[in-house]
């Protein structure tokens, strides 16, 4: 049941599995620390329905839904993590 960051319910912490999309886009997300394995959470959706406010590494970012849809995530259950 892999899904994207745009689909997960508000407030639920998930793990980044992979980032799709164009080179520059992907690298930009990776550089800000959104690398596979990191925990991410959608905090709120903007009042007009887009963009999303996400929390990564104790920092918050605004990211559009279309962009969040490129971020594949998986459940952050302790069993799934093997760091």
């Amino acid at each position: 049941m892999p899904s994207s960051l745009a689909e997960i319910p508000l407030g639920r912490s998930v793990k980044v599995r992979a980032i799709a999309g164009a080179r520059a886009f992907r690298r930009r997300l990776l550089e800000m620390g959104l690398v596979p394995g990191v925990t991410v959470r959608v905090v709120t959706i903007a009042p007009l329905g887009d963009p999303l406010r996400i929390e990564v590494r104790h920092g918050q970012w605004s990211i559009r839904k279309a962009e969040a849809a490129q971020i594949a995530v998986e459940p952050a259950s302790p069993a799934a993590s093997n760091s």
Binding site: A24, G33, A46, D50, Q60, S62, I63
Partner: protein, 744 residues
């Protein structure tokens, strides 16, 4: 697995005749500006990087070894530059594009965002920069702040905790910079390229242009220093690898993703592009793997964000958030639209009074006219923008520093996206309703050049306050109907300007190549709320405003003097003109005298070069319903749209200072007749004229500011052309279709 590449011979301690050059780098929102101000005091200067509107701030600094220069680099999360804007930081740090590589790089490290901050430090170290870390936000991080000594050992360069507000740690920082400047340059990598990447790096490194090699970039300054033999030719292989990593990750020639880097030699680009990009993510992932392994050892807890979260729960709330947003934007808007007005009027009166005194002292004559109507009025034309510009930078600086401007972008992104812009464009567009000049200056809060350009090209379509006197005059004089219908028409003009700017932005983003929407993500940080340091905000306000006066002001002044000359010369009236001097001397009473003076002025204006242009363009504006008198008004309106009103006042001989409420002027327009006795300005012409003013680019100050902000003549010319053509076409349609339908 730390991989040191040390070049002992490249020591070249730079403490000597030339001043040391120190660069200040860091992520956005880490207190870099505060640190810069604390270090440089009042010596800082704001200027622009050549050809681009990224601000460059430089200030003096006194190190134990002597004076040095501190360069503040634009905030960035990474050195991997893909656009011309991002390239500034990279070029400055690496010593590319003809710049001298800094002797020391001070990297601001946010104690509350350590991993991300150190990421940038790692990149600087890979290049071979001599780094010193300034650890900021230690108070805010509290228990989560790392131990500076442990961090220093981990990253391999000195780390000094600083609190810029209280100047704590600054002396230690200066000593550390001094020590770093005397140390050997060495590139320091925390990761080892894979075998496959290694092969690519070697190929790219071998192809590096000579001036891009570390031997050239880090060459000693030519100030008679003692260079150890061989030092100048020594190279930092790992430092050059860092350039190769950048080239491999950022060069791109694909159709949708081509990079926007400038100054890359074509054959080098070719060599890089011939490589496979299969290992694109490797450097980034390798650095993060290291950070995720090492940083948690230093900081065991996390900074407390609960206060920011509580504030955001209100400010980003569906209802309350928009209410606060509307209130803040109203205050902002009123400050430009209404509160600046008394100051603007004050400046206006002051210059008029000063001009009057001067005229009295010097007596009449061409030189007096030049001084009073050309120079002094021109200086006044520049200074009237100052109240708005000062307030703009005061409020913007405050909102940016406290973290709210990022929230505005978050709240309004959905709206701005419909015009292929992003949330950052909202504030400049809003300011457009007050005046395009501060609005275009406000585009500086946007990151990307393409977004800034598109915004400054549509902002002049907004109904600015200079259009109001024109609309007021036309509606009152030419549009029949009750006050309600007249009021509705005014509201309609506002709606029309919003609609046209939306459409124009959308069309241009689809058709004009440099303005096309790139598939770049719109990701902005929502930093923790912080109380801005008023001194920093004021200093920024002053620096930016004085730069506006220097750069845009001089152009506006030159243009207003030129325009004055255009409407003043030649002074000789044609043979057919009556002998006004004799007539005035024999005028029976003061009223008759005033009327004669007004007529003389009207004759002069009509006969001036500007007046002749007004005549000459009549064939072009006739299809819009305008005559040559309006033509002269349009020439005068180029100084500022509201000047249209006073120019028409002169043309219609009702005096030189008629305003939109002038009853004689309204009457003159209402009763004006064409040669065949019809009304010269039926309501349809009024409508066509208002549409023309809504769309035409008639403001030299706007053009001067666009020239400054876009760094050249190309975009102001484009702006002038597209708006004027658009205005002509739409006014033509309004007038001609209206006539076909039987109006006018």
């Amino acid at each position: 697995m730390t991989d040191d590449c040390c070049e002992p011979n490249l020591a070249a301690p730079s403490v000597r005749g030339a001043r040391l050059s120190i660069a200040l780098a860091g992520n956005p929102n880490v207190g870099k500006t505060t640190l810069f101000n604390a270090l440089t005091g009042l010596s800082a200067k704001v200027s622009n990087y050549p050809g681009i509107t990224v601000e460059r701030r430089t200030g003096g600094l006194t190190l134990p070894a002597g004076p040095a220069e501190l360069h503040d680099l634009p905030g960035t999360y990474s050195l991997n530059a893909r656009s011309a804007d991002e390239q500034i930081t990279f070029d400055a740090l690496a010593g590319l594009a003809g710049q001298q590589a800094p002797d020391v790089v001070v990297v601001c490290l946010d104690a509350t965002q350590l991993a991300r901050s150190v990421y940038l430090l790692l990149q600087c170290r890979e290049l071979g920069a001599r780094c010193v870390g300034a650890l900021t936000m230690v108070d805010e991080a509290g228990a989560a702040a790392p131990d500076a000594r442990a961090l220093s050992e981990l990253v391999g360069c000195e780390i000094v905790p600083v609190t810029a507000r209280t100047k704590r740690g600054l002396p230690e920082l200066l000593v550390a910079i001094d020590r770093a400047a005397r140390s050997a340059r060495r590139a320091h990598w925390v990761w080892t390229p894979s075998a496959t990447l290694r092969v690519q790096l070697d190929v790219v490194r071998a192809a590096l242009p000579a001036s891009w090699r570390s031997s050239a970039r880090y060459a000693s300054k030519p100030t008679g220093e003692q260079v150890p033999s061989g030092a100048a030719s020594a190279e930092l292989p790992a430092g050059d690898d860092a350039i190769a990593v950048w080239a491999l990750t950022c060069f791109d020639a694909s159709e949708h993703e081509a990079d926007e880097l400038v100054g890359v030699p074509p054959d080098f680009r070719g060599t890089v592009l011939a490589q496979q990009f299969a290992l694109d993510d490797e450097p980034v992932l390798a650095r993060w793997a290291w950070l995720d392994r090492e940083i948690p050892k230093l900081a065991h807890t996390h900074p407390d964000r609960s206060l920011t979260e509580r504030i955001d729960r209100v400010l980003l709330h569906r209802a309350a958030g928009f209410a606060v947003f509307a209130a803040i934007m109203s205050i902002l808007f009123m400050s430009l639209f209404a509160w600046a007005a008394p100051m603007i009027d004050g400046i206006d009166h002051m210059f008029k009074a000063f001009g009057g005194v001067l005229r009295h002292l010097l007596g009449t004559g061409m030189f007096t006219d030049f001084l009073v109507d050309g120079v002094i009025a021109g200086v006044g034309a520049v200074l009237v923008f100052l109240p708005q510009i000062l307030m703009l930078f005061l409020f913007l600086g405050f909102l940016e520093d406290c973290g709210y401007l990022a929230r505005v972008a978050y709240l309004m992104d959905r709206v701005m996206r419909s015009m292929n812009l992003n949330g950052r464009a909202f504030v400049p567009m809003l300011f457009g309703f007050a005046c395009a000049v501060p609005a275009i200056t406000a585009t500086r809060t946007m990151e990307r050049r393409r977004d800034r350009l598109l915004t400054m090209l549509v902002v002049p379509l907004m109904t600015c306050s200079a259009r109001l006197p024109v609309y007021t005059l036309i509606i009152a004089a030419l549009i029949p109907g009750s006050r309600v219908t007249q009021g509705l028409l005014m509201v309609g003009m506002y709606a029309f300007s919003v609609a046209t700017s939306l459409v124009a932005a959308w069309v241009m983003s689809k058709t004009v190549k440099p303005l096309k929407a790139k598939r770049l993500p719109f990701i902005i940080e929502l930093p923790p709320y912080r109380f801005p340091r008023i001194r920093d905000v004021l200093r920024m306000m002053w620096g930016k405003s004085s730069m506006f006066l220097r750069e845009a002001g001089t152009v506006i002044l030159a243009c207003s003097i030129a325009l004055w000359a255009l409407l003043y010369f030649p002074r000789e009236l044609p043979e057919s003109a009556p002998d006004y001097a004799t007539l005035i001397a024999h005028a029976p009473d003061d009223d008759a005298k005033a009327a004669l003076v007004a007529h003389e002025q009207a004759s002069h204006l009509e006969n001036s070069y500007g007046g002749r242009i007004g005549h000459a363009i009549e064939p072009a504006i006739k299809p819009l319903g305008f005559d040559w008198k309006i033509g002269i008004g349009l020439v005068g309106a180029f100084a500022a749209r509201e000047v249209f009103v006073s120019t028409l006042g002169i043309v219609y001989a009702v005096g030189t200072d008629a305003d939109e409420h002038s009853q004689p002027l309204r009457k003159a327009l209402k009763t004006a007749k064409t040669t065949d006795g019809r009304s010269a300005y039926p309501p349809l012409v009024g409508l066509s004229l208002m549409v023309f003013f809504a769309l035409a680019m008639q403001c030299m100050s706007t053009l001067a500011v666009v020239r400054r902000e876009s760094g050249g003549l190309r975009w102001p010319l484009f702006l002038f052309t597209y708006m004027t053509v658009l205005a002509w076409i739409v006014s033509f349609l309004v007038y001609q279709v209206g006539r076909l339908l039987g109006f006018g």
